[in-house]
């Protein structure tokens, strides 16, 4: 029992020693990287250009960014805190994503830096293999964590931009347009999912109130496919509009879509469908009491 306790204590002691040793090695490492900053940085920039990474940027820009990344890198090794690096990675991504820099490039340059630094460590400690091993033990987890942080930061920034753009597309893609007094058209382009269908209906209902619409033409020429869910959404939109006192005409149901709807057995008895947008608008005008007349043809000139 006593032996066991002692062995536990020893183990803890050894682990504490190991942590101290790692910290000491990291300090030494940082000092080494600081001393050789210029040379290692240049080596890294050269390797980036050689590997044809970051081709969208000029040599000077690459060098400037390389300097910042290098300094941040060393700082993370020193302090062990990745927060500053995270902020820098986000900021860097914001700047370089609009210029078309790809994920593999960003990951590539960080891995290159890791390799460049590892090589310099090999060179420095090549005489003492055991020491080199423990230096690498200290260096590798920190280096991997840095690569991870930068890559994750970049991907997160990308995803944020994608989400933003999706939102923008959604906003743009459902305009409610007034073509005549009390007549709205709602051209739907693209795939309808549940979220979009809901937004669409809300926008249409707001439009009906704002424009005091009596007839709405919903044109789905631009909708590539319609399934049971989308058809249900359409029926709901029609019903909700009717509750607000507006009639809905659906136009642009292609022959394929019509076939699908009949095959899957959606109840479309409540939907007033007209072949194309032109026909739909004409029908709506009739419902509103508009009469479109062609002007009289000019009288033929009588030749003397």
């Amino acid at each position: 029992m006593t032996t066991e306790i002692r062995s536990h204590a020893e183990a803890r002691h050894t682990r504490a020693d190991a942590t101290d040793a790692t910290a000491a090695l990291l300090r030494e490492l940082v000092a080494h990287l600081r001393k050789n900053r210029t040379q290692l940085r240049e080596e890294w920039a050269r390797r980036i250009t050689e590997s044809k990474l970051l081709t969208a940027m000029t040599r000077e820009e690459i060098f400037a960014e390389a300097t910042s990344v290098y300094d941040n890198y060393v700082e993370v090794l020193e302090t062990g805190s990745v927060e500053a690096l995270q902020a820098y990675a986000r900021n860097l991504s914001e700047r370089i994503i609009p210029r078309g820099v790809e994920t593999h490039e960003v990951l590539g340059i960080v891995l290159l830096l890791r390799d460049v630094l590892a090589r310099s460590l090999f060179k420095k400690y090549q005489a003492d293999f055991a020491l080199l091993n423990s230096v690498l033990d200290a260096y590798e987890p920190a280096a991997n964590r840095i690569a991870n942080t930068v890559a994750v930061g970049f991907v997160q920034e990308r995803e944020r931009i994608i989400r933003q753009q999706q939102e923008a597309i959604r906003e743009l893609s459902t305009p409610v347009l007034q073509v005549r007094d009390r007549l709205l058209i709602l051209p739907i382009i693209g795939v309808i999912d549940s979220l979009r269908a809901r937004q669409l209906t809300e926008q249409l209902l707001r439009g009906i109130r704002a424009n005091r619409a009596k007839v709405v033409v919903v044109d789905i020429t631009g909708v590539p496919s319609v399934d049971a869910t989308v058809a249900n959404h359409l029926v709901q939109t029609v019903d909700a509009s009717r509750l607000m006192g507006a009639n809905v005409i659906v136009t642009g149901l292609s022959s394929e879509i019509a076939q699908t709807l009949v095959t899957i057995g959606v109840d479309l008895s409540k939907i007033n469908a007209v072949g194309d947008l032109q026909g739909g608008i004409e029908e709506a005008e009739r419902m509103l009491g508009y009469a479109v007349t062609m002007p009289e043809p000019p009288p033929a000139e009588v030749k003397a």
């Binding site: 707001r206 109130r209 005091r212 009596k214 909700a240 509750l243 607000m244 006192g245 507006a246």
Partner: protein, 123 residues
């Protein structure tokens, strides 16, 4: 609060002022069924603009009112259903299929005028 019923030439206008309890809804039904005969009205407008919730009981009662009024020889128009209410109603499957609806009071009156005029033409 009980919904007041206003007489406007040959129409009755039930203007709901606040959320109605179930009893008040039934009261409205009875009042309308009585008044439509008393004033020999041709049409009834029920204004629900202030309601921001319509439960299934309210919808069922409104439909019952409309059916009753039709049997008493007049038409019913429900006006002022809010966008959010309309959306919630269709999601619950409460669509008032056979009832005339209109955007607001003005539209409702125009709607009744058309229907009543249409009925006259047939005579």
């Amino acid at each position: 609060m009980r919904a007041p019923i206003l007489k406007q030439s040959q129409y009755l206008i039930a203007s709901i002022q606040s959320a109605l309890s179930d009893e008040e809804l039934l009261q409205l039904r009875d009042d309308l069924a009585r008044d439509v005969g008393r004033y020999r009205s041709r049409g009834v407008i029920i204004d629900v603009t202030v309601l921001d919730v319509m439960d299934s009981f309210a919808v069922r009662t409104l439909r019952a009112i409309a059916h009753m009024i039709r049997l008493r020889g007049a038409e019913t128009v429900i006006v002022g259903i809010q966008a959010e209410v309309a959306f919630a109603m269709v999601q619950l499957g409460l669509t008032l299929e056979d009832i005339t609806t209109a955007l607001d009071l003005e539209e409702g009156l125009a709607c009744l005028n058309r229907q009543v005029a249409g009925a006259r033409h047939v005579q």
